[in-house]
Symmetry: C2
Subunit: 358 residues, 2 copies
């Protein structure tokens, strides 16, 4: 037993890895707020605020990519990752009646997101803050607040915050479609699947990280609801491993970037068992034809032939929940690769937990 004076040495990246493991419990904590999500969804309907404008940076903006599909497929509303610049810098003065703004910020302190929310509210939008800090400036600026409930996140590289943002956007969209309870049950079941999958994946990513220890650039390919996973995986690799990782849709890959591939340029590919699978299979064939190393992941990973590494994840109870699972191999791979490179994902050089950049 160590005395209180003993300094326990903390391994680099210990917080990031711990928080990846905390994701199932973070999802369960979110579900304690189902009532708040139902209330906000009801206000959206009552106000006819059915154009969904999502704003955020970094992981928050990646989660918003998922929101486009969640709102499109559940209540069948148009959702967009709105331009912050147009409103906050150029003061375009768009009419925002009929819109709900969902402002995503872990800390609730992102300056231009707060500025956007104030202007959007004045322009007639129903504004909602989705944040871990319900006492933050962002929460104060918005008309309503939804708790992200991910708990304290110490690692600069986000994990459970991102997962809860995905779940929160899905839950809000499902509530707007009158399917909140069913979707909540799906999140609960997915948390169970995650609990068993994380330790298995943690072992599986280790040899991939060792073999990629000196890689300088990667593409991360996904499409549809898998694209948010591609963006978030690429961001983790950039910020924790200093890999120039670029997210691409399966089709965008063919429209130019495929020409950059060679045997030293691995491609991490997320295959989901849905209507986008043929496009992703075709993209994987292009990757192999270019001589690049293919890593296959997602719940349809085994459908991509010729992969050097396959990291399958379980199928969720409903396809729309697949991003809660498909991002985890990327998180764990980033954690293992950072360690293999002697980098600390908890404290990447040049970053702090709360980004106050303009």
């Amino acid at each position: 037993m160590s005395s209180p004076e003993t300094v326990v040495p903390v391994a680099p990246g210990a917080d990031f890895l711990t928080e990846i493991h905390e994701q199932p419990s973070a999802l369960r904590a979110l579900l304690e707020h189902e009532g708040s999500y139902a209330r906000v969804a009801s206000t959206m309907r009552t106000r006819g605020a059915t154009t969904i404008r999502m704003v955020g940076h970094g992981s928050s903006d990646n989660a918003a990519s998922y929101g486009v599909y969640a709102f499109g497929l559940l209540p069948r509303w148009t959702a967009l990752r709105d331009s912050i610049t147009l409103t906050a810098y150029y003061d375009a003065g768009l009419d925002m009646t009929g819109s709900t703004v969902i402002a995503l910020s872990q800390s609730g302190r992102t300056p231009d997101v707060i500025d956007y929310v104030m202007r959007a509210r004045a322009a007639g939008a129903f504004t909602v803050a989705l944040t871990n800090d319900i006492g933050s400036d962002l929460a104060g600026a918005a008309e309503d607040v939804l708790p992200l409930a991910a708990g304290p996140e110490r690692s600069v590289a986000a994990s459970k915050t991102y997962l809860n943002q995905i779940a929160a956007l899905g839950l809000l969209a499902a509530s707007a479609a009158g399917e909140g309870r069913r979707f909540g049950a799906g999140i609960r079941a997915t948390a169970e699947l995650l609990e068993s999958a994380i330790p298995v994946l943690e072992e599986q990513v280790r040899p991939v990280a060792l073999s990629f220890a000196s890689v300088g650039r990667m593409f991360v390919v996904g499409r549809g609801i898998g694209f948010a996973t591609a963006r978030e995986t690429a961001l983790k690799l950039l910020e924790t491993c200093r890999v120039a990782a670029e997210p691409l849709t399966a089709t965008a890959l063919a429209h130019g970037p495929v020409a950059a591939l060679d045997s030293l340029f691995p491609v991490w590919t997320i295959a989901s068992d849905d209507a986008t699978l043929p496009a992703v299979v075709e993209a994987a064939e292009r990757v192999r034809a270019a001589g690049a190393t293919l890593v296959a992941t997602g719940d349809a990973a085994e459908k991509l032939s010729g992969a050097a590494y396959t990291l399958p994840v379980p199928k969720p109870p409903v396809p729309l929940l697949s991003p809660l699972l498909s991002v985890v191999p990327g998180q764990l791979f980033a954690s293992a690769l950072a360690r293999a490179r002697g980098l600390d994902p908890d404290h990447p050089v040049g970053l702090s937990k709360v980004t106050l950049a303009r």
Copy 2:
């Protein structure tokens, strides 16, 4: 004088460079169709189709980034780069009454864009094809057609097609705001500025290309109306030079990717003389603090201190036309860098002019 039988050897990348030089005349050719743009704008107004859904891949999708600002700042309409997948693959069945679809495709043959247009038209959208081939399948699928009028583009890497897409979206947005004539005159004046700037820039990019001959990765940073330029510059570098070039907004850079920078990771930064300049100046400071090499371009390039190279472009008659100028240094740099690396931008390995990928 060579006889008709003589095969004149064509330098690699000759088409790409020729077409960059043809851009001023391509812009003037577009202006011969001002009447068509006024007609479509009038239909948009009459039909109340004021939510603008833009779809396209590659350079076309990059141009759509500009459309968000053109429609937001001129008629003050909401424009979005719509998800093709949501409609064409997932068959979400969104209600699209009140929407104009602008489908961007150089060839008019992109399969999922055609599929999207057919479904959007059935869902109530006013559908418009913007293409170089007004007899294409895409033109046939859409309710109306706008000629891009860039003339034949032989290089696989697009240049004049992209510039005309930017001008076309601006002209349509301006026409919708009742300012089509003024904007058309602005395009004409910008074509003049381009004519003088291209030869100067062609000389200026040469030493940058030589010093970057072995670079494997870059970031390209812009914000607001400069973000389309960042995306298109990065795509040129990827497809013609095999550089892992990633476009980032000035603020997104601070939310993670800045941690990947070091002295071997140059950052190409586009500074425009508008309200986004302070954010871009701040981003450039972060780049320098990380020890990375900074290249400054755009019409406010001289506002970024500490740049290793400065490639200024002239100020356009109205700020919204700046993307017609700010992308040219990137095109010419890609052309020179490809040559320095022994690559052929006219025929990148693995690409063809018409992309039929799903």
